[in-house]
């Protein structure tokens, strides 16, 4: 490589390491996509203002030392449209999503709060339906919704119903799971076929005139996670539920936080045929499509098979797969060995994955 080229690459590298700045004057939808724009916003605005060691890890939840015990603490807001979709509704999501964030910290979820922002004119029957789903999901997950809040805003100031849930769980096992804990030689697993939730939502919006039998994968993951953690004490490094931005985004976070590369094997990644089909039609990549009941696990490579067995022992992990491995280099990148035998970089998207026209 020529000296000139190296100089240019070094310059880019320096620019990459500079503190993120939000250039936009207004919030755009890209800031909510989970991609690079979201990360920049979180780091440049929120982390900058609130900085503390617990927040700085930017994991799915915070691990709080409480005397001799440890608790996991997390919060999430739900703004899905449509509110009801095949496989679930905003109520299921609001409970399962927060339960899952606690599970990803290795915690047993215990208590949830629920805040509602309702739009004037929202049908009470719909609210009852959402709340019934929340109650059922909470029972299924073994958590109680113990406090809450309700606000109503004028018609047009919200889209029907928004829910925020906050959760607390107990961490009973030693050790800390973190996106920064992956090491070369580790194995990467996914708990089941990816992309079903995002695909179901896109179809349910009805913009495409496509119909396919796809239902959301929303489910509470704490049980299957507990099975994995019990089978591999001390050998699980990272758990992330692959929500917004999908598996690709989550693994990029791991690669960056741990300073490693993640190498995926395309042929090993489980995706249902219908989901692949819808993604092909819409020009999207399933790796970036959201899941609400799937997680990625990074475990000690020597125990990959036992991890797989542990996941498959649970109905929610029946189709789990080993999809890749962690390597030392190239740092902070996710690579994909494609089915056809090439290699490509799985990048961090700037904003939402936008469909291609041709």
């Amino acid at each position: 490589m020529s000296g000139g080229e190296q100089q240019v690459l070094d310059r880019i590298e320096r620019a990459r390491r500079r503190k993120p700045v939000v250039r936009e004057e207004l919030i755009t939808l890209a800031h909510g996509s989970g991609g690079k724009a979201t990360q920049t916003l979180v780091e440049a605005v929120f982390l900058e203002a609130f900085r503390n060691p617990l927040l700085a890890t930017l994991d799915d939840g915070a691990t709080l030392p409480l005397g001799s015990a440890r608790a996991a603490f997390t919060t999430d807001s739900y703004v899905v449209s449509p509110l009801f979709f095949p496989g679930g509704d905003i109520g299921d999501l609001a409970v399962n999503g927060t339960v899952n964030d606690l599970a990803m910290c290795g915690a047993r979820p215990r208590y949830l709060s629920a805040g509602f922002i309702l739009e004037e004119g929202f049908p009470v029957a719909d609210l009852r339906r959402v709340v019934a789903s929340m109650a059922a999901a909470a029972t299924a997950a073994g958590v109680e919704i113990v406090t809450g809040d309700t606000k109503v805003v004028q018609r047009g100031r919200a889209d029907g119903c928004y829910i925020t849930t906050t959760g607390v769980g107990v961490i009973e096992r030693p050790g800390t799971l973190s996106a920064s804990a992956a090491r070369p030689g580790d194995a990467v697993l996914v708990s089941g076929p990816i992309g079903a939730h995002g695909a179901a939502i896109m179809l349910a919006r009805g913009d495409f005139g496509i119909e396919a039998p796809i239902t959301s994968d929303t489910a509470p993951l704490h049980d299957v996670v507990a099975g994995l953690l019990d089978a591999l004490p001390g050998q699980v490094r990272t758990l992330r539920d692959a929500t917004r931005g999908g598996v690709a985004t989550v693994l990029n976070e791991v690669a960056v936080a741990s300073g490693v590369s993640v190498v995926l094997e395309e042929a090993a990644i489980p995706v249902r045929t219908e989901v692949t089909g819808v993604c092909e039609l819409l020009g999207l990549d399933p790796l970036y499509v959201a899941c609400e009941g799937r997680f990625v696990a990074v475990v000690d490579g020597a125990h990959a098979q036992s991890a797989l067995d542990a996941l498959r022992a649970h109905p929610l992990g029946a189709e789990a797969a080993i999809i890749g491995a962690v390597a030392a280099e190239p740092e902070a990148l996710v690579l994909l060995r494609t089915a056809i035998g090439g290699t490509r970089v799985v990048e961090i998207l700037v904003g939402d994955p936008l469909p291609r026209i041709c």
């Binding site: 490589m1 240019v8 880019i12 890209a30 080993i322 494609t338 026209i357």
Partner: protein
């Protein structure tokens, strides 16, 4: 998805790769341009370059319809979208493309009603659902998307829809290829011809490339094996001293194209005397405008346009990068004034553009790839 898997078989890819390597003359370098952005996407998505020997390089051409839109046209479109009674409709991948003063996404954040659609017919539907709003379709793309725009306008006219218009930015592939061929320092050995465009215009319009410029062209499909097969065919022509237009994508592309689609374009649109291409400058007879007879559906006539012209900065060297004369990093503004967050030229706009790809992954090019741990080893452990 059988129809897809058939063209993504690793064994057949390896066989083709061996055939490609066998056809390369040792020591000789071959540069082929894939004209179409769809091909660039396939090459990138499947990591196809790994199957090519060192002697063969692919140059990404100007065929990404989103990237060649000049900034001024985006600004004009945002001007239209910002009228209070307007609903602007656009394909998704245009939403993030910056004009001189921001993108559709920024305009949306500032209050414009901009909606993503999958086809111009969706835009027409929105117009019918909102009779008190003026609905504009931001039409972009090559001959691939122009027929559906034309047919939508014909339908709107037949149904007497009065609140629908098209901001026409359709461009044509042949003048762009010609502009590249006319460059004195061209360093290309052949072309991978666009598949979808050719399904409309057919293969005959490319004849001059082989005849007058002595460069072979193979019209190719969009699956990874299609592209490897067309590289193989191009090398075959060079090895046998042939120079012709060949059709690798005959399963979709008829030699004479699609006369019905061409007729629809001919009825609704006319050639512009010239049109600006981001990074390439003005190219004569390279784009389409709405025809006089359909003035009522022409957003350029319906709205008072500022006609913004944002000159490409003089330092922009996209033309040279597109022609394969310069490597991205050799452009004067690469990585300083021109970055993926603040793109100046077309090659930096989409993540598949040559400059953006190099900016993001240059530190990880073919010759700098690490050995990859085979997954089998991990799962066996």
């Amino acid at each position: 998805m059988r129809f897809v898997d058939e063209y993504r078989d690793a064994g057949r890819a390896r066989a083709l790769a061996a055939g490609i390597a066998a056809r390369c003359r040792p020591g000789r370098r071959y540069a082929f341009m894939e004209v179409c952005g769809g091909h660039t996407h396939t090459i990138y998505k499947h990591g196809l370059e790994d199957h090519l020997p060192e002697e063969v390089s692919l140059v990404h051409g100007p065929g990404c319809p989103v990237c060649v839109i000049p900034m001024g046209r985006v600004d004009d479109a945002i001007h239209i979208a910002s009228q209070p009674d307007v609903i602007m409709t656009s394909f998704g991948d245009l939403l993030r493309v910056p004009g001189g003063t921001g993108s559709f996404l920024d305009a949306k954040a500032a209050g414009a009603d901009i909606r993503m659609v999958y086809s111009p017919l969706d835009a027409l539907k929105i117009a019918k659902q909102n009779p008190d709003r003026r609905v504009v379709f931001m039409a972009i793309g090559f001959e691939t998307t122009a027929p559906s725009t034309a047919m939508t306008v014909l339908r709107a006219a037949a149904e007497g829809v009065r609140n629908f218009s098209v901001f026409c930015n359709h461009v044509m592939i042949i003048p762009a290829i010609k502009a590249i061929l006319d460059s004195p320092d061209l360093r290309l050995d052949g072309f991978i011809g666009p598949g979808h465009v050719s399904a409309v215009i057919g293969c005959e319009p490319y004849a001059f490339i082989a005849r007058d410029y002595g460069k072979p062209l193979v019209v190719a499909g969009f699956e990874p094996l299609d592209i490897l097969a067309s590289v193989h065919m191009l090398l075959g022509q060079l090895a046998e001293d042939r120079c012709e237009v060949e059709n690798q994508y005959a399963r979709v592309v008829p030699w004479h194209g699609n006369p019905v689609a061409m007729e629809a374009i001919g009825r609704v649109m006319r050639l512009r005397p010239h049109f600006e291409w981001r990074g390439l400058g003005f190219i004569a007879h390279s784009a389409l405008a709405m025809a006089e007879e359909y003035a009522a559906f022409d957003a350029e006539r319906v709205f008072d346009l500022p006609g913004v012209r944002v000159a490409d900065p003089r330092s922009c060297q996209c033309g040279e990068v597109l022609k394969g004369v310069l490597k991205p990093w050799e452009c004067k503004v690469f990585g300083t004034a021109c970055t993926p967050e603040t793109p100046i030229g077309t090659c930096m706009v989409s993540s598949e553009g040559a400059c953006a790809a190099y900016y993001n992954f240059g530190r990880f090019t073919r010759d700098r790839r690490p050995a990859v741990i085979p997954l089998g080893e991990v799962s066996r452990a």
